[in-house]
Symmetry: C3
Subunit: 110 residues, 3 copies
């Protein structure tokens, strides 16, 4: 058993969940926020047998496409209180997904 932890853009979630459910893949959704852009995104927890990991990554790859955007990151007052500090717009690649696969010692349904 492996636990896939995938951080995905909100707009890709409806289609991605439909595709996963069609394949009888179970998933749990957590609302999350990006550390840099401080914008909402979604973290999925997907527990699958080891031989399904590749399939799930393929489904995420097909559904979640990365694109370039010019974005001005939000910075908190705490460490940016210097008067002339103006956050510069940066070009970031947003969309796509960030995927962690961790080993599951034990899986139980009670």
């Amino acid at each position: 058993m492996k636990l896939i932890i995938a951080v995905v853009q909100d707009q890709d979630i409806p289609l991605l969940l439909d595709k996963l459910m069609d394949e009888k893949i179970r998933a749990t959704k957590l609302a999350s926020t990006g550390g840099f852009l401080r914008q909402g995104n979604t973290t999925l927890l997907i527990g699958v047998s080891e031989n399904m990991v590749e399939n799930v990554i393929d489904i995420i790859r097909i559904t979640c496409s990365a694109k370039e955007q010019m974005i001005t990151p939000l910075v908190s007052d705490l460490s940016r209180s210097i008067p002339d500090f103006i956050p510069q717009p940066v070009q970031v690649k947003v969309g796509g997904a960030t995927i962690f696969v961790v080993d599951v010692d034990r899986f139980e349904k009670v």
Copy 2:
């Protein structure tokens, strides 16, 4: 040290947290959503020493009971826009809990 990640029904949380706290077991609660039913549930993070894993699973088993329900799953518009598509009610076993136990390389309290 092991990290228990348990997806539990919302209605079982108050009693489950009371039981865990009584046993001096620490836990963190995350609001989550089921991938299939798209209904709210709760994901608990419970870090315990390896010899406590069995106890925690027993507490979850006693507190969270599974029951059968007829449910019509929500499907998103994105891939279900075919006019005659009517989601069929399905009988699902809801309640109970889904439990993942992962190994913790390192645990720190700062």
Copy 3:
């Protein structure tokens, strides 16, 4: 690759995220709740290469300071309906951070 799961007090988040972003460390934020005090806190997911784990823990240690507080824990009605039960105020050490480091089998950006 390691996944750091850190439970941190809300008030320490703005500065902590700024410090992590300055070091080009990526992070995802999840709103969470303490199991005992039932108060809001924040769970961070931070995926870093193994040789960065120590740095990240140091940044968290410097930014999140623990302090003593007298707190009356919330208890749910479910198991505390005994009429003369009055929850006693307890002195707890709050603040600081609880850090779990788990091994990542596989990391993908799609």
